[in-house]
Each structure stands twice: as structure tokens, then as C-alpha cells.
């Protein structure tokens, strides 16, 4: 259960930061989405950015246009009007998300960074499987893909989705981040840190454990692919991704469609009451799977 009162704090003279919960939970994330959607609908003058995060959110504003006190009152009002999730309905894109696990590219990247890792003698997959009590990496991958994930936050760099598995707490996988961040991570790498999957949109630094790679992009600066016509980034908070293990043959086939510009994500839209997902994650997962297989 999350606190009844959010914690409001100032980020200098242009930001207000609001923490709904210290720890991560689906409930906290859904509350963040409900509040930030409510705020977006109000088009508050002087507010330039509303940024939902995992269990907190942040607003950037111009104090010359709206005083911090007045803005705070808007935030508190949005909080009050969304306390009861029974009346909240969310529309999300359910996306089939193929992943090539234990691929040669992220394996090479992580082998180069063994001096920065908790366990220099294992791969990231072997290490994460072991500390989560799995007997094999195959069983661990099966657990990673057993239930869908909600995109609980986007950011870091353009388009990076944080994805949180819709599963009971006791089934949640948790892994530490690298001891020191890597300087190199391949584009589209599938990483895991804390309780989150992240997919790296572009090549760069990174501190999550590397498990695989996505054949499909999540950032397309030139908006070449049809799924990127509206925005150069694909992920949106509230998206639901079902990660599906694929083999090298399917990976290459998808890459070819990305290269020739015809790739499209397989997307279904669902509208749901968040309480259903919070109270019965297994039932929600089954419903999502049914929708994807329709």
C-alpha cells in the first residue's frame, strides 16, 4: 500500500517533484499515470513539462507565470480527484515485443565490462538467474517472459522505456545494477536493473544487467518507420509489452523488415480498470495474452 499523502518537494525554482511511494509497485505507478493524465487535461498555464516516473512524477513550470504555491494546489487537487482507482479507466497499447536473449552483441559488450561487475566469472544472465534462485538461464528467461510488463516510465535518453512486470511481488525479479556503469551498451540492448527492464534506444553508457537485444528499434530520429510517424520514440507510459524470446533466424528476418522500412509492431489496444491488474495480476496477464493472440 502506498502513502495516503504524496511527498512534495522543490527542484530549484522551475521544478516540483512529487513522490507517491518510496518503493515500486504497480499501484503507485498507476496512481502516477492517473494524476499526470489529469494534470495534462487541465493545461495549466506556465507548465511546460509533466513527467510521469515509476513511483513519482515531476513538473517543470515557469514561476513568472504560475507561483509554486498555486501550482502545488493544482497538484494536490489532481491527487485528490484520482484517489479512487475504481473509476479510473486506462487505455493501453498491448505490444508483442520479440527479444533475442543471450545474443552475441550484448554478450560481447558485457564480457568487456567484467571488471565492473559483481560476478566477473559469470555472464549477466547466469548471475541474475542464480541470485534469483533459478537452476538455469532458460528457466530464468521463461520467468522473465511469463507475464507482461507495463511501461512505467520513459526517459533517461529519448524513448528509453522502464518496464515493470505485472506480477505478484513474490514473483518479481530483482537484480542489482552494475558496480560501475559500462561505457558501452549496444543500441536496442535489453537490460534489467532493480525491478525494471530497460531497452536502450541508442548506443551509450549503462548500468543495467544485459540479457539480450531487441531486433526492432524504439527510437527512429528520421521517423522512417510507420510506427514512428507521430513521434521519433515508440514507447509511451502505460504501454503493455509482452517480451517473447526469439531465435537468430527470426531476429534476422525482423531486422530485414526494419532495414527495408516495412517493419510494424504488432499492437492491440485494451481498456482496463487498473484495480483488476493490481488485484489479480495473473487474470490480467491472461486477458492480455488473449488479446494478443486474437
Amino acid at each position: 500500500m502506498i502513502h495516503s499523502t504524496p511527498r512534495y518537494t522543490y527542484g530549484g525554482d522551475e521544478f516540483i517533484f512529487v513522490e507517491l511511494s518510496e518503493e515500486m509497485s504497480l499501484e503507485a505507478n498507476i496512481r502516477v499515470m492517473a494524476i499526470t493524465r489529469e494534470l495534462q487535461e487541465h493545461h495549466i498555464r506556465g507548465v511546460s513539462d509533466i513527467c510521469p516516473a515509476n513511483a513519482s512524477y515531476m513538473v517543470r513550470y515557469d514561476p513568472d507565470v504560475i507561483s509554486p504555491e498555486d501550482l502545488l494546489r493544482h497538484l494536490e487537487a489532481a491527487d485528490r480527484s484520482t484517489t479512487d482507482l475504481a473509476h479510473v479507466s486506462l487505455t493501453s497499447r498491448v505490444v508483442d515485443f520479440p527479444i533475442l536473449f543471450d545474443d552475441p552483441w550484448t554478450r560481447e559488450a558485457l564480457m568487456r565490462a567484467r571488471d565492473r561487475h559483481q560476478d566477473p566469472n559469470s555472464t549477466d544472465l547466469e548471475y541474475a538467474a542464480r541470485i534469483n534462485g533459478f537452476s538455469s538461464t532458460e528457466a530464468f528467461i521463461e520467468a522473465l517472459c511469463r507475464a507482461p510488463y507495463i511501461v512505467s516510465m520513459t526517459g533517461f535518453v529519448p524513448g528509453l522505456p522502464w518496464c515493470f512486470q505485472i506480477a505478484p511481488r513474490e514473483e518479481q525479479i530483482e537484480v542489482p545494477k552494475y558496480v560501475r556503469p559500462r561505457t558501452y551498451t549496444p543500441e536496442r540492448a535489453f537490460g534489467f536493473g532493480g525491478a525494471f527492464v530497460a531497452i536502450y534506444p541508442v548506443e551509450g553508457a549503462g548500468g543495467y544487467q544485459l540479457f539480450g537485444i531487441s531486433p526492432s528499434p524504439i527510437f527512429d530520429r528520421d521517423q522512417r518507420l510507420p510506427d514512428f510517424r507521430e513521434s521519433m520514440v515508440f514507447p509511451r507510459p502505460g504501454d503493455i509489452y509482452w517480451f517473447r524470446p526469439i531465435d537468430m533466424k527470426e531476429y534476422e528476418a525482423i531486422r530485414a523488415t526494419v532495414e527495408n522500412g516495412t517493419f510494424r509492431y504488432r499492437i492491440r489496444e485494451i481498456t482496463f480498470n487498473p484495480n483488476d491488474a493490481i488485484r489479480d495480476p495473473a487474470g490480467f496477464s491472461a486477458a492480455v495474452k488473449g488479446e494478443l493472440e486474437r
Binding site: 530549484g12 517533484f17 526517459g155 541508442v202
Partner: protein
């Protein structure tokens, strides 16, 4: 037209930034020292939103291919036109064929070169600023290279007068150690009370890792309050459940080397941020460089807003002075 003869160390096209895309992970970019950027624009009669060139540490060499007025503000980096010294913080006329070059940096870190009308590149999501990590905005999404040709824009609002200079009292002084005012907050309660006090008492030194993404400082080690980590945060006591990072916010991974996040920073992540440098002092950070000293000074929000107004008043005074002279 302006031809880039030499690009300098890192010269990029910047304006006031690209607000509104923070939630997708796109930082605002824009001039790091907005005061110098704005005053350079005002000197040549531009709207402050016009794009200037931001040159870091080592200035570029530029050949003007048209008669053009320009101004250089910011760092004390001597500027030359055809080898002859020209004054900084002053509107200067160049003839077609003239070459602007720079000498050794004396104080500060970044020079802003404004040309009348502004630097014209295609705006991306409402801004001409360069965000090099993803190749967005600016000149082809990157720092300038030798041989690049730059166009002049039409964001001029009035004709500038040659030779008019910004009086000394409105020029920032980059000599002494930087005093950076901070509103404590966000996750400051994660630090021990003693470490919080030490953070504000210590003298910090800018490390070589200081760029448009952020500035890293070395000094003392800070301690976080020991606790069982909340679910999802990660195991280090400096970890929190991943959240948004305000521009100017200070994170301290593992308690060592605080990092102040700047205009091209990552928009979020899993480190506790302990406070935010006020917007008025981001200009000052931009003009510090490796091995320079800085102190963080604790203030409250009311004082931050007072300093914000003070900075705006200064810009209005400069504008009004330039209009009348």
C-alpha cells in the same frame, strides 16, 4: 553565409532550448550560459531566441562571406578579426572575407557568438539547439566541422549600432571560485545530517568530466542514511526507484563525486538527487572549467525566486541600455 575554417574544440548551435519533451526523455539542450547568449543576441539586435554559436574552451575560426555585424560574449577568450584584437561584449562589423579567430582562454569556459539575424538551421521541435547524443537539431545534429557553411537567419528585431559595448557592471566576473546556490530537496533526506552540512561546507573541484551533460565535482565522500532499500530501487544506499532529474539537480552516485545535471543530461534515473542548483546560477556553472573551485550555498525557494528576478532585471537593463545607445 559563414564558413567554418576551424571548428574549435566543440562549437555547437544553441538557442534558449527545447522545452516540452522532457517526458519522452529528450532534454531541453540550449545555451548553457543563457545570460551571455542573450546579451550577445541583444547586441546585434536579435530576439533572445535566435541561435548563437556556443564555443567551449577553444574558439572556432570563422570566415564571413557577407557583410555582417556580430558580437562575442561570455568567457574572457580574446577574439580577433583578421588578426586584430576586437572587444568582447561589443557589436562589431565584419566585411565579407573577414576572418574571426580566438586566442587562449583567460577566464570562463564558453564564448557565445551572435550574428545579426541569428544562425539559421532547421528548427527541430521548436528549437535550433544541438542535442548531439541523438543527432537532433543544430547543424546536422552535431558539433561544427571544418568546411561547414552556416546561414544567417531573420530573427533581428532592430538594427544594431556598431561599436556599442555592454558596460562593465553588466558583465559577469568569472574570476573567483563559483558560488552555486542550491535549493535542498528531492532526496536530501537520504543523506546523513552530517553529510548534508559537509556538502555545503566543503570546497569542490571541477573534474575533467564536465560538459553539456553535467559537471562532476571531487571533494569529500558523502554518507547516506543506512536503511533496508525500498523494493525496486537497487542495492546501493544512493539508489532510489528511478525518477525524473530536474535540470540543475545534484546526484551523488555511491556518495562520491556529486554531478550537477545540465541541459543535455539524462532526464531520469535511479540515483538520489539531493538538491537543485537554481536556474540563475546555471550560467555560472557553464563558465567554470576543470580544476576550478566551487562552493554550494544553501538557500530557500523564496531566495531562489529573488535571484531569478534579479537576473531578469539585469537582462532588461542591458536591453534598455542597448535600445537607447
Amino acid at each position: 553565409m559563414i564558413r567554418v575554417v576551424k571548428p574549435g574544440l566543440s562549437t555547437t548551435v544553441q538557442d534558449l532550448g527545447r522545452p516540452g519533451y522532457y517526458s519522452i526523455g529528450l532534454p531541453p539542450s540550449g545555451a548553457l550560459d543563457k545570460y551571455s547568449h542573450t546579451v550577445a543576441n541583444l547586441l546585434v539586435g536579435n530576439d533572445p531566441a535566435a541561435a548563437t554559436l556556443e564555443a567551449t574552451y577553444l574558439g572556432p575560426e570563422l570566415e564571413f562571406r557577407a557583410d555582417l555585424r556580430f558580437a562575442v560574449c561570455g568567457a574572457d577568450m580574446p577574439a580577433f578579426l583578421n588578426g586584430q584584437p576586437i572587444p568582447l561584449w561589443t557589436a562589431v562589423a565584419a566585411r565579407s572575407g573577414d576572418v574571426l579567430s580566438f586566442g587562449m582562454l583567460q577566464k570562463g569556459a564558453r564564448s557565445y557568438i551572435a550574428v545579426e539575424g541569428g544562425i539559421e538551421v532547421p528548427p527541430v521541435m521548436g528549437s535550433r539547439s544541438t542535442y548531439a547524443l541523438c543527432g537532433i537539431g543544430g547543424h546536422e545534429g552535431r558539433a561544427l566541422k571544418a568546411g561547414d557553411m552556416l546561414e544567417k537567419g531573420d530573427l533581428q528585431t532592430r538594427a544594431p549600432r556598431e561599436g556599442v559595448a555592454v558596460p562593465e557592471k553588466w558583465r559577469p566576473n568569472f574570476a573567483e571560485a563559483a558560488e552555486l546556490h542550491v535549493v535542498p530537496g528531492l532526496y536530501v533526506h537520504r543523506l546523513t545530517e552530517e553529510s548534508k552540512q559537509e556538502f555545503f561546507a566543503a570546497e569542490w573541484t571541477v573534474t575533467p568530466e564536465a560538459n553539456r551533460v553535467g559537471y562532476r565535482y571531487k571533494g569529500i565522500r558523502l554518507q547516506f542514511v543506512d536503511r533496508p532499500q525500498p523494493f525496486g530501487a537497487g542495492s546501493n544506499p544512493s539508489n532510489v526507484v528511478d525518477c525524473g532529474y530536474p535540470i540543475g539537480s545534484i546526484q551523488v552516485p555511491d556518495g562520491v563525486e556529486p554531478i550537477v545535471l545540465l541541459n543535455d543530461a539524462v532526464t531520469g534515473g535511479g540515483y538520489a538527487t539531493i538538491g537543485t542548483v537554481i536556474s540563475a546560477d546555471l550560467d555560472r556553472i557553464a563558465q567554470t572549467r576543470t580544476n576550478q573551485k566551487a562552493k554550494f550555498v544553501e538557500i530557500d525557494l523564496a531566495e531562489a525566486l529573488r535571484r531569478r528576478r534579479e537576473r531578469q532585471t539585469r537582462i532588461l537593463e542591458v536591453e534598455s541600455f542597448l535600445r537607447q545607445s
